[in-house]
Amino acid sequence: MAPLSGLGLARNADLDAMKWTPRLPDDAVNTSLTRLTILREMVWLSSLAAGLIIIIYVGLGLLVDAVVDYLPDTVDGALERVVVDAADFGPVAEPTLPRVRRWQRELDDLAAAMPAPAPDGFTLHLIEDADTVNAVALPGGHVLLFTGLIDAAPGVDAVRFVLAHELGHFANRDHLRGLGRRLLLALAASLVLGSDNPVSPLVLAPAELLTLRHSRDQETAADAYAVRLLYRAYGSAEGAEAMMRTLAELDHRGTVDGFLSTHPLSAARAEHLRGLIDRLGAEPDTSEPAAP
């Protein structure tokens, strides 16, 4: 700002007499960011943050994977109280009781064939929902089976594969793994960033995508476990491929969807299962299937 003479600028002649020379200060002094530097700072800081997130995420993943196999059953029990008790399934309605008993028996048969049987057994909950083709494994050995899946399944073999798949999740302790990762990540984010930092959602959303990718690996592992378990229990796993072909027909998803989905694409899964069935079928001596 070029120095300006105060003469004639002051409103009152007395102020001129009073040695006033009003001048404007250089206003660029108190702001350090320009339009260019603000963008550069954003790019620089966010790539630094992205690197940090990846390091923390990988580190947490290794930590959870290392710890999850040694977690005592009390952790499972505590999670059961949180998740299952909150859902409050209530008493089973009289008309559906025979169906529940029937699928519970199938589940027990499969559980008996598991290489490392769970002492507390597994509980089946039949959810009356004809539109949902799904099954869920919850902490404490609870398996939710939706009636929509039973209706859509091409046969008893196919439903057995689904049950075996959920048992695979329990055997791999996936229900603890997934919760553990998410919990630790949220904890780390709130510890480092503070509870209401606007950056938190930016950090957690990409991490969520990574979690989804991780979950697809878990699904593939559970599939492999299920095929081995079916061979062990029934000597055949043909239901696995049949179920997957049906699911593939049910959802016509594009390939772009694959990366963002929790489950691998059903058609790809069916191919993978076919390969597994062929390989295990060629060597029928599956008396000791190794847990994945």
Binding site: R35, L45, L193, G194, N197, V199, L202, L212
Partner: protein
């Protein structure tokens, strides 16, 4: 699940779209505000507003004086909020906040001058700022800032005292 995929996309959009809008619109708004501030500062330059007390006007008769205030609340844009959030992670100068507070203070001072009308000067000027939290809960991230400027507007007499 396709539904879950959709939610993920919506989730990301909800985070990223405000940041881009914040960058484009926010910098536009800031530039316009600064232009307006500079123009009005030049226009009102002849009316001094200083932290000094009466010593700034010794030797003149003061005919009239009364308290004048000016205040404003300026909000942060989403882009700068994220940038500041990253700064909290790595430390350093929070540039986004600097211009926000600078704008608020200067706007408050200009409003105080408007309140002073045709006063010859404003003396003993004090500036205060308050952080105002928003929907994020308030304690962690600044969303807007209030600046208050206050001082005593004086009208001097036509002749020297004495």
């Amino acid at each position: 699940m396709p539904l879950e995929t959709l939610f993920q996309f919506i989730n990301l959009a909800f985070i990223i779209v405000p940041i881009i809008i914040g960058l484009v619109v926010g910098s536009l708004v800031e530039r316009r505000h600064y232009r307006s501030i500079r123009r009005r500062e030049t226009d009102t330059m002849a009316q001094p507003a200083v932290p000094l007390g009466l010593s700034a006007l010794s030797g003149v008769t003061i005919e009239r004086a009364h308290l004048v205030t000016g205040s404003t609340v300026v909000a942060m844009d989403a882009f700068k909020a994220v940038l500041a959030g990253l700064r909290f992670l790595f430390g350093g100068r929070v540039g986004g906040y600097e211009s926000l507070i600078d704008r608020a203070r200067r706007e408050a001072t200009l409003r105080m001058k408007v309140a002073a009308g045709d006063a010859d000067a404003i003396l003993n000027v004090r500036l205060e700022t308050f952080a105002i939290g928003g929907r994020f809960g308030g304690s962690g991230a600044l969303t807007s800032v209030e600046a208050v400027a206050y001082g005593t507007a004086v009208w001097v007499g036509s002749g020297p005292k004495r």
